[in-house]
Point group: C2
Chain length 245, copies 2
DNA sequence: ACCTGAACACCGTTCAAGT
DNA sequence: ACCTGAACACCGTTCAAGT
């Protein structure tokens, strides 16, 4: 329906030119997820979209699990790691977090899908971890702590991406009167954000990321290796200083 | 198979005594999720476990969406909020985070399921938000910022719960030699943690939670209302001080 | 090797028929 | 009101048969 050529009906038997490839299948899956949600991107729907029989897909992907692994790689490839080659570790982590969340935010329904699946060792995701890990160690983080720093930040990013994927009115307490504390802060935030145009999800992400980076800088400064903060961003907020609005 | 009484075969027609209830269905669903994962807890599996026909369930739950909402409420109810009634805001948030993660950690497969679904306004979850929100405002957080603080921390907690649900060897880069930075930090952490008995997920959660709380204390201290940190834990780490191992 | 076509073993959900 | 029993419209996956 949304594809290209007027697919003339195909007879059984191997076609002279391949009509499928793993890449094509993964990209179609991602597009269908974007358009119709995760439930609109099953094997049968993908086959239909490609003008092909469901069983044909199994010549290129092992099954549904392999399919979602491929889709995740597609999304992961778009997370830029080049900030780690030119910025101090904390500023690079911040850029990485923004890019990471954005990559998944572009495909909301994928998040829950991809976050749980075990990592395929031969994936683009491994290359991303390599770039981040190497940069942290270079900056002075102890080798045995770097990975937990990465995972901790990643936890926040994935949670924030989930929050972004959820309906923004998810937390609306409605006209209940038995939760005044909740209703109060909900309405206060709503009107404050309405004035600035910032979305609730962006607001929470911003304060969370800022807080975590402040904390990580403090942890870094407190390392046994001393205040040898070789590459921390000069003048960045590390403590209870006033934060620029 | 794992249930109680020797269910004698039932004839059609309304039984004198109800055999089902929403609560029973939700609890059975949660138990099946724990035992066989999310895929082993469909409508048909729940019915079978209860010795009943699938169609019977629809007399008590509207459908699958309503079912997972019920399961979420079951899990949410176990998150304690009483720390907010007796501790400073930052210490209470820390206890809340521990309890929150633990509640979901006890039922790993539920996490991805529950995090995306919109919140039912008439749910136990609303009561939890109410307790947290009221405590933050009481402590001196501006009403329009409290909710984003809660959501930011919640993002990290949910991400950490996802991480906990995932296979702990998920990140194992294996014997690859093209990602030395990644392999290095992975092995360094593995041997460091092997000595202490701490799990990778716990390690990341610990550093992330500590960092975020340090950051939030800094944000709090930097509020326009000044350093009126009425209830912050005395002597807690707020800046680049040495953190107790 | 790579497609079709038919089949298998599943789903969630609906609804009339019973009590 | 609340259960059974049968049916409907779906799934993912397998596999022989074609080229």
């Amino acid at each position: 329906m949304t594809t290209d050529a007027p697919t003339a009906k195909r007879r059984a038997g191997r076609p002279k030119q391949n009509v499928l490839s793993p890449r094509l299948i993964h990209e179609t899956a991602l597009r269908l997820i974007d358009e119709h949600g995760v439930d609109g991107a099953g094997m049968r729907a993908i086959a239909k979209e490609l003008g092909v029989r469901p069983s044909s897909l199994y010549n290129h992907v092992a099954g549904q699990a392999a399919l979602v692994a491929g889709v995740r790689d597609l999304v992961s490839e778009r997370i830029p790691t080049e900030p780690f080659t030119r910025l101090p570790w904390d500023a690079a982590l911040e850029q990485w977090a923004l890019g990471y969340r954005l990559a998944f935010a572009s495909h909301p329904p994928t998040i829950a899908l991809l976050a749980v699946q075990p990592l395929d060792p031969d994936s683009a995701t491994s290359l991303m971890y390599d770039a981040v890990a190497a940069a942290l160690v270079r900056a002075g983080w102890p080798e045995e702590r770097a990975l937990s720093v990465i995972v901790a930040l990643e936890c926040f990013i994935l949670g924030a991406a989930l929050d972004l994927a959820a309906d923004q009115t998810m937390l609306d307490p409605g006209p209940r009167t038995d939760v005044p504390g909740f209703s109060g802060v909900y309405r206060a935030r709503a009107s404050a954000l309405a004035a600035t145009g910032v979305s609730p999800a962006d607001d929470a992400f911003e304060i969370g990321l800022r807080s975590m980076l402040i904390g990580l800088r403090a942890e870094f400064a407190a390392l046994p290796s001393g205040g040898v903060a070789r590459e921390t961003t000069p003048g960045a907020t590390t403590a209870g200083e006033k934060i620029a609005g």
